[in-house]
Amino acid sequence: MKFFDCHLYGKNYESDYRLIEESSRLGYSGASLFYSTDNYQSVDYLETINENLLARGTHPPEDTPSPDFSSDFHLVAGVEIRPKHGEDLRKKINKFRKKSDLLMVLGGDLKINRASCENSKVDILSRPYLKRRDCGINHVFAKEAARNNVAIELNMSDILRSQSVFRSKMLAHFREIIKLHKKFHFPVLITSGASSIYDLRTPRDLVAVANCFGMAPEDAILSLSNVPWSILEFNQQRKNMIIAGVKRIES
């Protein structure tokens, strides 16, 4: 099973390299680093990270206890959009859609959540429950997300970093989203949301936590493996797609 961690926060070369190295050690076959709209343009070291990982994978240094270091790690850079309002969201999506491999919108505001679910150019709606007293999506948004293939992200760092009543509320939000997922079948992503190596967990740990909020282990494994890979595959074909359902075949 090829696991993919779909949300790591990118900062600089050293931090990103350590995150990727650690996630590879924990058993992921790929990961995506997300940058803000301001920082994304200046990121030019991802190929260097890949080359360094590859070199290290083929010739592991003796002092590193990582014999299972994967040399074919799939690294993707994405943009995290933090829109102020719906119009701002539309502008930023149009600006970054062709430039980035993955497009993620930070949710929380009901209008932003709705606009993201209705836009097929968005790949992932991140944390729709952020700073809210409900889960941030309802049956209408869920239908739209399923129609436009927008994945809803469940960020595990929200559980890790919260405690007591806030943690239980977070689990309740997750449970609500899973309930809608079971009915409307929109894609759900389980991510670590790590900004440091101490936030990372193994895929099986995430599956076990997902079991606590009512997600079947098979579904959790799918949302850590198949869903992210299918989003990436779809994005690779996006440039050949003319409209939804029409695709130019390159011979």
Binding site: S120, K121, R238, M241, I242, I243, A244, G245, V246, K247, R248, I249, S251
Partner: protein, 93 residues
């Protein structure tokens, strides 16, 4: 001029087509020229002059434009009368 950008609005009679996917396995692989079209079906003339009626809704078609470009179209978006398809709105990606 039929291009990949307007083929889903255009007249498809006369184009070469191949059925790449269908809920009816017997239709997969049929190759020929479109000779007639209704709201829900297209009629394909295969080699030897035999004609086959294919439902649009459950199939994926691969059309060959006059310029030699291959375009894969989900039959669901072709479901409408050809004269109505020109004014139909399609969802952009």
């Amino acid at each position: 001029m039929i291009t990949p950008h307007n083929i889903f609005r255009h007249e498809i009679i006369g184009l070469n087509v191949e059925i790449t996917e269908s809920s009816h396995d017997g239709l997969v692989g049929i190759k020929g020229k479109v000779v007639d079209e209704t709201r829900n079906t297209i009629r394909v003339e295969v080699r030897g002059g035999r004609e086959t009626l294919i439902a649009k809704d459950n199939a994926i078609f691969q059309f060959l434009t006059p310029d030699g470009e291959k375009v894969e179209i989900d039959g669901k978006i072709l479901v409408s009368r050809p004269e109505d398809r020109i004014k139909k709105k399609f969802r952009k990606i």
